[in-house]
């Protein structure tokens, strides 16, 4: 299987099959990441799809400047983060799209997903970013540092702050129930 970086070299030459392959590899995590990162800003499904397309347009446009020695994954998510930030810059936080709310009693899996949504909503944007990158996209600290363009120490401290916040919330929830 060709590496993501090798596919990027082909995309720089205009290869559509290489682009399709890269899209297939990252479609689900990226669309989920965009949806979750932009949650709370009245984003509907079509807007998330617009963000998704914008990310891939930027990938195609910047393919020529992508260095094969660089790692593709952090590069892609950095673009995604910038797209979300650009988009969020013009938006104020609002109610989450009702289409993502359950209409019936949630199953155990839906319940866990709902808990994750609530966790993310309770975090500050920069804490949400690190939690998403670490636990949703499974990025290493080094990769997170590249995505966020901050030192690893900052990544660690943000992650620590986010986990402390989540820990507090979990304790509060346990105390309530």
């Amino acid at each position: 299987m060709e590496s993501d970086e090798a596919l990027m070299v082909e995309i720089a030459q205009g290869s559509e099959p290489a682009f399709r392959e890269l899209l297939r590899r990252y479609q689900r995590p990226l669309s989920g990441y965009l949806r979750r990162q932009s949650a709370g800003r009245a984003v509907d499904v079509s807007e998330v799809e617009d963000l998704f397309q914008e990310v891939w347009l930027r990938v195609a446009r910047s393919a020529g400047s992508f260095r094969p020695s660089a790692r593709f994954r952090p590069w892609l998510y950095r673009i995604a983060l910038n797209v979300v930030r650009d988009f969020a810059g013009g938006r104020s936080p609002a109610a989450v799209d009702s289409r993502f709310e359950p209409v019936a009693e949630p199953t155990a899996r839906e319940g866990a997903a709902l808990e994750a949504e609530r966790m993310l909503e309770a975090l500050a944007p920069e804490q949400r970013e690190v939690v998403m990158l670490r636990y949703y996209l499974d990025l290493s600290e080094a990769e997170m540092s590249e995505v966020l363009d901050v030192p690893r120490g900052t990544v660690k401290s943000r992650l620590h702050a986010a986990m402390s916040r989540l820990s507090t919330l979990a304790r509060e929830k346990d105390a309530e129930s």
Binding site: E10, Q13, G14, E21, F52, E117, Y135, M163, S167, A170
Partner: protein, 137 residues
């Protein structure tokens, strides 16, 4: 998560909880959404860029190949000219009347056509090479 745990236990406990919740979130996100339609619309949006990149790459490759092929052309022409002159001298001593000029002229025309065809094939060869690189996986 229990309140009696140490700070470390709290941290690792909440980490495990976050991991579980995120896995569930990822699964729930994977189950939702129309991947096929999103792929189609995204590729349709990106295709003009890919086509433009492909054309640019083709032109660059052709220019490079032509430059490399044209560099030795003066030498080839000089060599052919010397060869034709030598052939004409030899043919003149063997063949009568206008036959040496016809034979050497015919050879010269064939050489020019061959050279022209070689240079004309360069863009086609570059296109074939790029197309192989773009073959569907």
């Amino acid at each position: 998560m229990t309140e009696s745990g140490s700070l470390t236990n709290h941290a690792s406990g909440s980490e495990a909880r976050v991991e579980q919740a995120m896995t569930a979130l990822m699964r729930s996100d994977s189950a939702a959404g129309d991947d096929e339609r999103l792929t189609r619309t995204t590729i349709a949006a990106v295709r003009p860029w890919l086509v433009a990149r492909s054309r640019r790459a083709y032109r660059r490759q052709v220019a490079l190949a032509m430059t490399a092929a044209l560099l030795p052309l003066p030498l080839i022409v000089a060599y052919d000219r010397a060869l034709l002159e030598a052939l004409y001298v030899v043919a003149s001593s063997v063949l009568p009347g206008p036959l040496p000029a016809v034979a050497v002229g015919g050879y010269a025309v064939a050489a020019v056509l061959l050279l022209g065809a070689t240079y004309a094939a360069i863009p086609l060869l570059v296109d074939a090479k790029l197309s192989t690189g773009r073959a569907p996986r």
